[in-house]
Structure formats: C-alpha cells, structure tokens
C-alpha cells in the first residue's frame, strides 16, 4: 500500500477513541473528519464533525468527498453504512470484521472455526432453551444479547437464585446467547496492529479489571505467565485470518487450564490507553499508521503503566499539582452515571514503584475529595 501523504482521515463515530486518534495524528500532519449522529460527540471539540444518522446517504456522500481513507471508533456502526462508504473510499479494517464482531454468536463460531478456545455457549431463542441452558451450566452463566453489547450492556447474570422468568421477560425479543461463566483467574487483552502489507506487531499483554462489566483498570506489561504467550499467538492467528489492517484487541480469560477468548474489538480499545505514555508508539498512532499505509512504530513498552478509568465523574485536576509520571486524559464529555469520561495513566520503571505510585495517587485523590 502506498503511504498517504498528509491524509484526511474520516472516522465513523466521534467518541473519545476518535478524539484520541486525532490527537495522535495531528502532530504527524494528518487531518480528520468525524461522523456521528450525536451533535455532542466529544471528538467534535477537537476537529470538524458531521452530525447525521448512519443511514443519511447525503451526509455520507459529503463525508466521503472530504476524506482520503475511512476508519471507525465504534464497532456498532451499521455494516450497511460502512459498505456504502467502501464503494468510494478505502475503509480499514475491512467491514467484514464488523459483521462478525457485531454478533456474539458469529464471533464465537468464528473463533471455534479457527480452532481457538472459547468458553461454553449456546444460542437461546425461547424460555425453555434458557431454562435448559441455565440448568446445564449449573446456574452459573451469563445471558447476553447477541448484538449491541459493550461495557456490560445487555447482560443478565444467571445464578442459582435468579428469577429466570423475569430475566426472560426483560431479554426476550432480542437474539440471545447463553455463556457459561468462566472461573477465570485474570482477564488479559492483547493489542495487535497489522498493516496492509502484513507486518504485524503486538504490545505487551495487558491485565484488566472490570467493575460491573465496565473496564476499571489496565496494567501492562501484565505479570508474565505461559498464558500471555498463548494469548499473543491466538491474537496473531485471528488478525492474520481476517487479513486485518489496523489495531485489533482480543480479550481473554486466563484460567488454570489456559486461556479462553472472551471477545474482540476491531478498533483501538480502552485497555490500550496506557500505550499513549507506556509504549514507544501509542495504539492510536499505530492504528493511523496502518490505515494510512505508513510504516508501523515500535510497540515496545517504556516501562510499566497502570491506567485508571474515570467513570461518571472526573477528579478536579485543576487543583492538583502536576506530577511527572501521572498523565490525565479528560474527554470533554458531560459527566453521567456509568459514562467513561476520562482516564489517568501512571507510569514507573518497575512494578513495585508503579504500585507505590498508584497507592499515593489514590491517597491524594481521597485527600482532595475530603477538601471539597
């Protein structure tokens, strides 16, 4: 692929991922145009935004006229939209990956076809299937909508005491899949970037902690286990099978018996935010490099990094003394319960110092809250 010179990059979706892509691309002379149905989309603060529905072909035509290449910051952009854009502009990664990743069932079957390990699951189309499945998974399972699920949305926990009837009433009408709960020891993710010529590079494996289905913290490099190498190999298999171009993130469960794939995100990902300060090239810059046909940058780590998500509210950084190894990123979004509104990355030379800095920062935060 011939490198695009001073490209204008169109991004479908204008959230914080689009915003951070733009901030990574501007110093490289790249320009951006965002497309989002929401006029408040936070990327619109840092570049031009077209506000229109994803089915508005007139607006999409305008969008295409202005850009050299297209990518997305949201895996639930309708495939029909991306296919329409692809008639006139190169789109990376290819929309075919969206067809898979937008449907949990197709996604799991895709991993199985590649011979990769996934947890037990089966599709649920009726109450009796739900009841049967719940029983066969010993009432330790998750009922998930096949489509439009992210950040723990569209999930129902099945426990021995759960009211299956009530869950069914809430969930019915949507395509569903029941997943046996995996008794995992750790959640890890692998951030892979692949360019159009097949060059592939992977960041240090990241360890993730979730609260209520929403990512709370990521640390990298994760404590090394055999599973880390296995996870990287699986991620490579997936990226190559898809002939993927851009950043692809695969989430895994680490269990006593090895790793199971949880899901994939065909885009830059929250668990890769630490790469802004913690890696030689951020996931955002490398995604843009891949999409524009530029040579990739090194994915090596500088040291150790911990990323903390701000959900629902942000700390009052205007009053905090700046510390050299603490990097705040606010997204300019209106705070709202459950909403990702920013993150902070703490960097250190080794895991012990990282731990110490995280504890100090937490203490400082609670002190400053006490003063408010």
């Amino acid at each position: 692929m011939k490198p695009l010179q001073q490209p204008v990059i169109g991004i479908l979706g204008g959230g914080q991922l689009a915003r951070m892509m733009a901030l990574a691309g501007y110093p490289l002379g790249m320009r951006f145009l965002f497309f989002d149905p929401d006029p408040q989309a936070c990327a619109g603060q840092v570049g031009p935004l077209i506000t229109a529905g994803y089915d508005d072909t007139k607006a999409l035509d305008e969008f295409m006229r202005e850009v050299d290449v297209v990518t997305f910051d949201f895996e639930n952009v309708p495939v029909s939209t991306v296919r329409y854009v692809q008639q006139r502009r190169a789109v990376y990664p290819d929309p075919s990956v969206l067809e898979i990743s937008q449907d949990r069932l197709l996604e799991k079957r895709f991993f199985q076809k590649l011979g990769l390990p996934v947890g037990q699951f089966f599709p649920v189309n009726s109450y009796s299937e739900l009841a049967f499945g719940a029983k066969s998974y010993e009432f330790d399972a998750l009922l998930k909508t096949r489509r439009m699920g992210y950040d723990g949305k569209g999930q129902f926990r099945i426990t021995p005491g759960a009211d299956l009837k009530s869950i069914w009433e809430q969930a019915r009408g949507r395509k569903l899949v029941l997943e046996q709960r995996v008794p995992f020891e750790r959640e890890i993710s692998v951030i892979t970037v692949r360019d159009a010529d097949g060059q592939l590079s992977q960041y240090a494996v990241t360890e993730n902690k979730h609260n209520n289905g929403v990512l709370a913290t990521s640390t990298a490099p994760a404590r090394y286990t055999d599973s880390c190498q296995l996870a990287k190999t699986h991620a490579r298999t997936i990226a190559e099978a898809l002939e993927y171009v851009g950043v692809l993130v695969i989430e895994f469960f680490e269990t006593p018996d090895g790793v199971l794939i949880n899901e994939m995100a065909p885009r830059v990902h929250n668990s890769g935010h630490w790469t802004i300060e913690g890696a030689l090239t951020s996931q955002f810059e490398n995604h843009l490099r891949a999409v524009c046909g530029w040579p990739l940058g090194s994915t090596d780590s500088w040291g150790y990094a911990a990323m903390l998500n701000w959900i629902g509210s942000v700390p009052n950084i205007a009053c905090m003394p700046k510390q050299a190894h603490i990097h705040h990123h606010l997204y300019g979004k209106t705070p709202r319960a459950g909403r990702k509104v920013g993150h902070t990355t703490i960097t250190a030379e080794d895991p012990a110092n990282l731990q110490r800095k995280v504890v100090n920062f937490a203490k400082q935060l609670s002190d400053s809250l006490g003063k408010l």
Copy 2:
C-alpha cells in the same frame, strides 16, 4: 487566582503556536476557540476558528461570549483589540506587555530602565541619522523597523560596502531603530513561566542557531556557562517587573563580556518547542496552566533535546520508519518559501548521544531525498 474548571480558552492568533497549545490542553479537558483574520490559519484544523479582522468588534463580541479566558499566540495582535477583549474577559499575559514588545525601541528602553544589559542602539528618523549612526557603529549594524518585525522581517544589514541611500529608500516611512551588531559567541534563550500568584519557574537554557534571521535549531540544556545563570536572573527580573502571567521568552546574545538581551516574546516560543518531549511539562501546557490559574508543572528536563525547524518544506515522514527518540510535528500549513511548516525534536540521554542521533537523522533524511 481561582483555578478555572474545564475552561474554554480563547486564543487571538491561530498559527502553529495556538495549535500546539490546544494539543497540550485537550487531554486536560480544556476547550479552545481561535480568532484569526486568515481562514487558512492552521489551528483551525484542530478546533473552532472565528475568521475576522482584529478590528471587527462584532466578531470579537462573539468570541468573548464563548470563552472563559483569553491569551494570544502572536505578539503583533493590535493592542486595541486585546484591550477591547480585556473589558469583558481576563487576558493573560496583560496587554501592557504587548505595548512594549511591539516596539523595539520601547522594549530596549524598558530593559535599560530595569538596569539590564542591551546592545548599543538609537532611533533613526532621517537619512542623516542613519548615516551618522552607521558611521559611529563602524558600518557593522542592523537597521530594523521598530514594529512588526519577527523572523528576520523588516531588517537591513549595514556593512562597510552597503548602499545606505538604497537602504533608506526601502526602509523610510516606518519608525526605525539602528542596532550595533553584537559580536556574539552564542545565542541563547530563557523560557520562564509565571503564574498569577507569582510562582515562577524556568526551563533549561536553550541554545539557538538562526539562518537568515529565522530560527533553525534549538538545543537544550545549553552547554553551561556563567552567562546561563545571568540570563536566567535577567529573565526573572523582567517577568517580575511585568507581573507577567504565562510563558515569557527572552533571547540573549552571549559575548565574551557577558550577556546582552536581544528581545522578548510575550508568548510560547519556537525555541521552547523542545519542551514537548524534553521537559516534564511542555511550555504549551505550562502557559495554559498559568493562564487558567492551575498549579504549574515542573520545568525540569528529561535529558537532552535538539529541535530542528522545517522551513519551506517538510520531510516525507509518511515513508520514514518511526524512531522512538525522533518526534515530528507538522503544522498542516501549505509549504511556502521561508515559512515555518513543522519541526522535529530529537531526544537523548546525554549530549554525545544526541549529537550522534542528529547526525544519523540528517543522513537518513538525505538518503530519503535521494530516493524521491
């Protein structure tokens, strides 16, 4: 001064300095609005831009309505404009500094009044004054316009063979000052940041090389001499005398007899671009912190840095492999002879490695040019 929470910052002037301020402020949740008479102003690629003349009070009213605080990226914004804005919004630094810095003669007299060393100069209002001055400075001088001079614009070199009549014909009609040329050993600059409460911090002294009056390279920390300490003290005296808020840059000539002040820039400055990667807090972030009443960040250096300006054209970075210690910054401007269109900063742990990396980079550049 009470810290502004998630402020909207208005910037008069929308060039690369405004652009880099915005890129520094976005991760902190700051928002920006640029004001520039040029619809192509390059900051407009990274945020909203009002295009109007500096005397367009209706447009200025609109600008003021949208912002919490105002600063500028260009010292030749008309003082009347900034005074008008100041009636309704806080402006930092105070416009009084523009009145001084916009006139070379007032500026030099201001430094003299503070007891600080400047080179020989005198105002020129007629051909006979020019002829007299040229002779008394032994035909080794510079005739400069008092106003609107930057990047070597509005300067005439006086040498023994110079055609004074012709120079006078070109220069007359403007207010002029004749400066004896200083036989300097080095040009250095001091980047000072001061907040509204009087806290003041200074970056490592920077060594600058110019080509045809335009900054070509800056390296920092400069090789240490007694002059460096003296320059820092003078810069502090100036910032405190002005009760300055924001980043203030003072350029000095280092001579065998000590330092002489060349000029000041009441804004972030090209010789401070190395601070983006070379210091714990960039000049852009610290300027914003001062302007918004936030605590300043450390001005300590990470190591050694060299900044190379791209003037007239930029290297083809789309084809270059990314290197971890080489940081490109393109401004999105249309290349034109003599125009600053980008810069590259190279960082290293020590001066010897820095030198080696700069040489390698230059070789790589000339190789890539050979391939075009």
